[in-house]
């Protein structure tokens, strides 16, 4: 079914089609419409799920954990300060190996008070062990929720589906709502092998000494690494069933590119027409949109970037005292490589500052002009 829907509602539709059984969420701008529509879907009987109203985001994640531990397919969504309030329980969800799927709308962190987009909220949670997908269209948001469950439930790890505040969350565009029967075939009912069961009493998450904690961390890392292949496999299978294939990254006009732009989310989307325009003028430029950020596809990035003349990474986030996260990780992946290209790290669009095509073009042109980057952070258009 073809519809025109907003990014937030794409999350709700994704949860509906995945047959989420429990939803526990607390509303926050710009995420509110996700919860509103899910609440309507439950009230109207379109979605046979328990909708748990909670008093905070910490409780939303805690309730989600309980539901997931009991074996239910569980969905929640939040943004910015709400995600930060969840921080403690985010670690818990990973350590308890709960395949929860959560939408996070990238909103800049306060103060000063703000509602506009920036990735620093979800980037701040990159070490919690949640797998992270950064989306760049309304269709991809819906599809990614379904795919996220497929991956999460095989590795018993939680997944965050991330989208830009307003630029995606409140933008309406064409979206194919897949048939429920096809989604059911792609994503069958989940049988949690470790769910709470009164007939098989067991202790979960109890005190674990240094003799075993280390091994449990090792297992999380191994399963996180395994999810790289699963994202590719399930993304291919999605393509076969629904005609839209997804991978760890999306490349555009990359094959013979000398200069490669690496970015994510909506900035990487806006970059496409810039690449088209510059290609028409004869510049060998290409694009990599990083879709899966956790786990970071280091091997793939090495393969795609080794031997290129120049690489520029555009981040809509900042780790104060260092640089942008996508830049840091891309640079780290390329460090032990023989033909590692020089890398420019731009910070753009913080706090929802618009990043139009001419700004993307400025960054590519500056990179093409210089022999080496002037520092670890290149700011663009700072008002003096």
């Amino acid at each position: 079914m073809q519809k025109v829907i907003m990014g937030n509602h794409a999350l709700s539709w994704g949860a509906l089609l995945s047959r989420a059984e429990v939803i526990a969420a607390y509303p926050i701008t710009p995420q509110t419409e996700v919860v509103e529509l899910l609440s309507n879907m439950c009230a109207d009987g379109d979605l046979d799920a328990q909708f748990i109203k909670v008093e905070s985001e910490h409780s939303a994640m805690a309730a989600s954990m309980g539901a997931s531990a009991a074996g239910a397919r569980t969905f929640t969504a939040t943004s910015a300060q709400g995600l930060a309030l969840m921080h403690e329980v985010l670690h818990w969800a990973t350590g308890a190996r709960l395949p929860i799927v959560m939408g996070n709308i990238n909103r800049a962190m306060a103060p000063p008070w703000t509602i506009w987009t920036e990735q620093t909220d979800s980037i701040s949670e990159r070490d919690t062990g949640w797998l992270q997908i950064y989306t760049s269209s309304i269709q991809e948001i819906l599809d990614s929720v379904i795919q996220a469950y497929k991956v999460a439930e095989q590795v018993y790890l939680p997944v965050m589906v991330v989208l830009d505040s307003f630029v995606l969350s409140h933008t309406n565009e064409n979206c194919d709502i897949p048939d429920q029967s096809k989604v059911d075939a792609y994503l069958p009912k989940f049988e949690n092998a470790y769910k709470l069961d009164v007939n098989k009493p067991a202790a979960y998450g109890g005190l674990t000494g240094p003799d075993w904690y280390y091994e449990l961390r090792y297992k999380i890392q191994k399963d996180t690494e395994r999810s790289l292949d699963l994202f590719v496999e399930t993304g291919k299978e999605f393509g076969e069933m629904f005609g839209r294939e997804y991978g760890l990254v999306e490349t555009y006009k990359l094959d013979d590119a000398d200069t490669v732009l690496v970015s994510s989310a909506s900035i990487a989307s806006t970059a496409r027409p810039v690449i088209d325009a510059m290609r028409e003028e004869g510049h060998k430029v290409g694009l990599i949109r990083v879709r899966v950020f956790r786990p970071f596809p280091s091997d793939l990035m090495r393969k795609l970037l080794e031997g290129r003349k120049k690489v520029l990474v555009v981040d809509r986030n900042i780790s104060f005292g260092m640089s942008g996260a996508f830049y840091e990780e891309t640079k780290a992946a390329l460090y032990n490589v023989k033909n590692s290209p020089p890398m420019w790290g731009y910070i753009a669009g913080l706090g929802g500052r618009d990043v139009p095509t001419n700004v993307v073009r400025d960054m590519i042109e500056q990179t093409m002009k210089e022999d080496h980057p002037s520092g670890d952070i290149i700011w663009i258009g700072v008002k003096k």
Partner: protein, 187 residues
């Protein structure tokens, strides 16, 4: 690609107008993208919304700085803000006004059309008499004047999007579609 910018005041249905146009165009099988300029919304404050239309998928995700066409739901904004900022030469300016298009002489170099959407909204009691919601009427006028989208698709989109008074909103769009031509001939 067609890029259209909507100007109105909070409470007039400006954002819904941009969405309804997108819904209608999508029903004709084209690609659309529509979004408001988010600020701190207040009733009566200037509101801006955007709609992009194309035959191929739309990747650009910035605001629209150089629109092809404008829709002005609130004529008192003209002069208060520079509504034509960035407007491409020869573009349409569709104004909700009971004045003749020729009275907007300041818009030389653009195609100006006026339609009294407020009267139609009042007739069908859309919104309150103090704050009528003019979006569905202006959309009917836009369909007739520009031909960007057919009235059948507008009718369906309005029915889908109007939260209340669906029949009245459809009638408002239809009446605007019929009347807008007559006003065009006069101007």
């Amino acid at each position: 690609m067609l890029e259209i910018r909507f100007h109105g005041r909070g409470g007039q249905g400006t954002v819904v107008a941009s969405k309804a146009l997108a819904f209608a165009v999508a029903r004709e099988g084209r690609f659309v993208q529509t979004f408001p300029e988010y600020g701190v919304e207040r009733r009566g404050a200037p509101v801006v919304a955007f709609t992009r239309i194309d035959d191929v998928p739309i990747y650009i995700r910035s605001k629209i700085y150089e629109p092809d066409h404008l829709v002005v739901l609130e004529p008192t904004l003209i002069g208060a803000i520079d509504v034509t900022e960035g407007l491409k030469p020869g573009g349409w300016i569709i104004i909700n006004s009971d004045k003749k298009a020729a009275e907007f002489g300041q818009f030389a170099g653009f195609k100006v059309a006026t339609f009294d959407a407020t009267s139609v909204a009042l007739k069908y009691r859309l919104g309150s008499s103090a704050a009528p919601i003019v979006n569905t009427a202006i959309l009917g006028a836009l369909s007739k004047i520009t031909g960007f989208v057919g009235i059948d698709a507008v009718r369906e989109a309005v029915r889908e999007i109007a939260p209340v008074k669906k029949d009245e909103n459809v009638k408002a769009a239809e009446e605007a579609y019929e009347k807008a031509e007559a006003e065009q001939e006069q101007s």
